[in-house]
Amino acid sequence: MSSTAQELDHLIGKEYKEGFVTDIEAETFDPGLDEDVIRRLSAIKQEPEWLLEWRLEAFRHWQTMVGPDWAKLDVPPIDYQALSYYSAPKSKKDGPKSLDEVDPKLLETYEKLGIPLEERAALAGVAVDAVFDSVSVATTFKDKLNEAGVIFCSFSEAVREHPELVRQYLGTVVPQGDNFFAALNSAVFSDGSFIYIPKGTRCPMELSTYFRINAANTGQFERTLIVADEGSYVSYLEGCTAPRRDENQLHAAVVELVALDNAQIKYSTVQNWYPGDENGKGGIYNFVTKRAECRGVNSKVSWTQVETGSAITWKYPSCVLKGDNSVGEFYSVALSTLKQQADTGTKMIHIGKNTSSTIISKGISAMRGSNAYRGLVKVTKGADNARNYTQCDSLLMGDRCAAHTFPYMEVANPTAQVEHEATTSKISDDQLFYCTSRGISEEDAVSMIVNGFCKEVIKELPMEFAVEAQKLLGVSLEGSVG
């Protein structure tokens, strides 16, 4: 038995392939956080007065708050004054107008990460916004999107070009003081993506943002806002990587989604921040607030996430189902190996009538990883005929890992149907024996079983990313995965 456990550990032991550092000249703020830093940040971004005020309001509120400690996580204290709140590659004053003007070193970085901005974009038909530390460096396929009327740009650009839209929706889903990390983000957010899909438009291609932390001692605080106007549809994907460093780095993002009448948003994440080493040294702290509001009737939001990176993950993509007949979905695979900790799940708040939600969560713990599912399904008094189905399964590999489930269900309406199911299992010797006796190597067998376990979630990803996610799980398990 112990030999199997060791073999599993060996199989799971992974090499982080995106851990290099790009040597690029950058303009970085000195560590520290006070109102002046926020004013400077806002000035660099040429932000309007109201946004600066908004940031300062958030900052003042943040100073009165304390970090959350209720999660099943062991978070070392973070010195917020030791972080730098802005870092940007030095470039021409006005920023690149097209990809040709982008610093070749940056392009090379994305090349190395397997995201050649141009080619991949052309081949896959995916528009990419690349965010490097605190700024967006390039957005592809702008023309084609413009034709359709879709706005897809960096957040800073949106503030300059479409201030009325930003002002109308910013902070309406995740208010400034929502929680400790959201407040911090509201005060110091640097960049991120902004998407607006006009009425009755089906976004002609997948939109994608690639986040990269490069500079040391900086925190990344991006802010994403997606607004799907009546009858529109958009599918969005984000990916993330960071260099391998012995210090921990903080990533505190906020994502707000708004779906109006009959609109649909599909939001997928493949999160692969540097997870630290097997002793828990280094790695990214991923403290993210993601929330969607199904404001309109018949609107739908679907979250899909594959979480394989980060030393600590604290993340609960949620849906507020306000509109009648609105639908929320959450599909998640969270893998924690090495000494990773993840406390993740979702909240489904049923407010409108005839709303429904589905939660499928697959947690995999291996080595010394700890994985917690924490979810809330709330059916308010007026939410007639609400329907929820929740399934959260855990797969454990090894005798030093941990898996937890904390599903909250609060129901105040007698017409609600709420179901929750959870199982915990391991890869059984029988399953392995079945495969190996048919000539499949143990390594392949483990990969096969893990992929089978996650299949329900992976199939929700857009095709290109499903391949990437499967590969990621495969790399983590060091087996070849088909």
Partner: protein
């Protein structure tokens, strides 16, 4: 005076049984803990859904009540041949009790503490953590009376023991403390039964500790039928040694606020725990069940089945936790919580939790919240049964699944009748009880 100060003063001024160093120290420490912890608030995760404000508002205090044999007659289970201990407002009433001489050792805790405190020293306050909550600390600080049951090695109790806790109302404050010690290979059945004379308000804060030695078998029933103005807070904490079996059946029908913590620690291999429960919530009642099963060692089995029926403006809370330790391989655990929401104003908050620290386990849990099945309703209606009766029949069937698991027939039948009496147009259901 704050509520904490009020209760601390109550405990300080109360008469004490037994004057031994270790006991005094236990009480002193618990009182200090209580003053430090205070009464729990909803900011405490374990009390998130249960606000105990109404308890703080009233000045509950010790009350002497006079209760006659005729008063308790209605609360005895028909056809149950059992030893009987009656407690009135928390104090043992010798005259009303009836204990056979041939059975296991049964005594009031006050008597044991006065004459023979050494026999409970290694158990009392050692199984249930007095610091688990402010209420546990308060109970331990004021530790004075309750039931003590001790079954020696291989002793099988000839009859079940019926513990009847009667409150006279009158804003009485009582703190029963029970200790059940089942020696190696022994078997006992204990029924904890809480009732109110009349419709008065009172506050019960009970703690029951159960030690189940190797191969022993304990069946524990708790029937809570206090008045709708009563406040009931209770903790049961058990510890099970090798191959020890514990079955706990909780039936909660009364109380304005009723909170039950039902916990067991499996510290010997092969131990088995069954926790079943039924709660019927109506009017403005609030019932909260917290269970915690700790799988500390390998090869233990736990089964849990809780069902709730929520009507009126009632609110139910269920929080089931299974904690599997790193070394507890081959753990086999199942938990189920099903709830029937019958009214627009009723609410249920449920959280089946798993905390698992090793990979060689089989753990499953499930929870559902729903209504009566329309197809079932249709089936009955199409056979000419009127809607109210059909509804009662289906609710009965749902709730009865838990009652069916009660091994003591007399208790089960009595509870089934109580259940039927609560349901409208359900008289004809009587014939189903057998």
């Amino acid at each position: 005076m704050s509520a904490t100060e009020h209760f601390a003063a109550q405990v300080r001024n109360a008469p004490r049984a037994g004057d031994v160093a270790w006991l005094n120290q236990t009480r002193e420490q618990a009182l200090a803990s209580f003053e430090e912890l205070g009464l729990p608030t909803t900011r405490n995760e374990n009390w998130k859904y249960t606000a105990i404000k109404p308890i703080e508002k009233k000045a509950f205090q010790a009350v002497d009540g006079a209760v006659s044999a005729a008063d308790i007659e209605p609360f005895l289970f028909e056809g149950l041949d059992a030893d009987l201990m009656v407690f009135v407002n928390g104090a043992y009433a010798h005259g009303l009790s009836k204990i056979g001489a041939d059975g296991v050792r049964i005594a009031s805790l006050s008597a044991v503490l006065a004459d023979d405190a050494a026999s409970v020293e290694s158990y009392l306050g050692k199984i249930a953590d007095p610091r688990a909550s402010g209420f546990s600390a308060l109970n331990t600080a004021g530790l004075v009376d309750g039931a003590f049951v001790h079954a020696g090695r291989n002793q099988v109790a000839p009859r079940p023991l019926h513990l009847l806790f009667v409150s006279s109302g009158d804003d009485a404050f009582s703190q029963p403390r029970n200790l059940i010690v089942a020696g190696e290979g022994s078997a006992v059945s204990v029924i904890e039964h809480y009732v109110t004379l009349g419709e008065g308000s009172h506050f019960t804060n009970a703690v029951t500790e159960i030690s189940v030695a190797a191969n022993a078998d304990v069946k524990h029933y708790k029937v809570q039928q206090e008045s709708d103005k009563a406040f009931h807070i209770a903790t049961m904490q058990a510890e099970q040694a090798r191959d020890a079996r514990l079955a706990s059946y909780q039936v909660s029908l009364g109380g304005a606020i009723a909170r039950n913590d039902i916990n067991t620690r499996l510290v010997g291999e092969g131990a088995e725990a069954t926790l079943n429960g039924l709660y019927l919530v109506d009017g403005r009642q609030h019932m909260d069940f917290h269970t915690n099963i700790e799988h500390v060692v390998p090869h233990c089995i736990s089964r849990e089945n809780f069902r709730g029926v929520l009507d009126g403006r009632g609110r139910g809370v269920f929080n089931g936790k299974v904690h599997v330790y790193e070394k507890a391989v081959k753990t086999d655990s199942e938990m189920s919580n099903k709830n029937l929401l019958l009214s627009k104003n009723a609410e249920i908050d449920t959280k089946p939790e798993l905390e698992i620290y090793n990979d060689d386990v089989k753990c499953a849990h499930g929870a559902t919240i729903g209504q009566l099945d329309e197809v079932h309703m249709f089936y009955l209606r199409s056979r000419g049964i009127d809607p109210t009766a059909a509804r009662s029949l289906l609710v009965f069937a749902f709730a009865n699944e838990v009652l069916q698991s009660l091994p003591l027939e007399a208790v089960r039948q009595s509870l089934e009748k109580t259940l039927i009496a609560r349901l409208p147009k359900a008289d004809h259901l009587d014939e189903l009880v057998q």
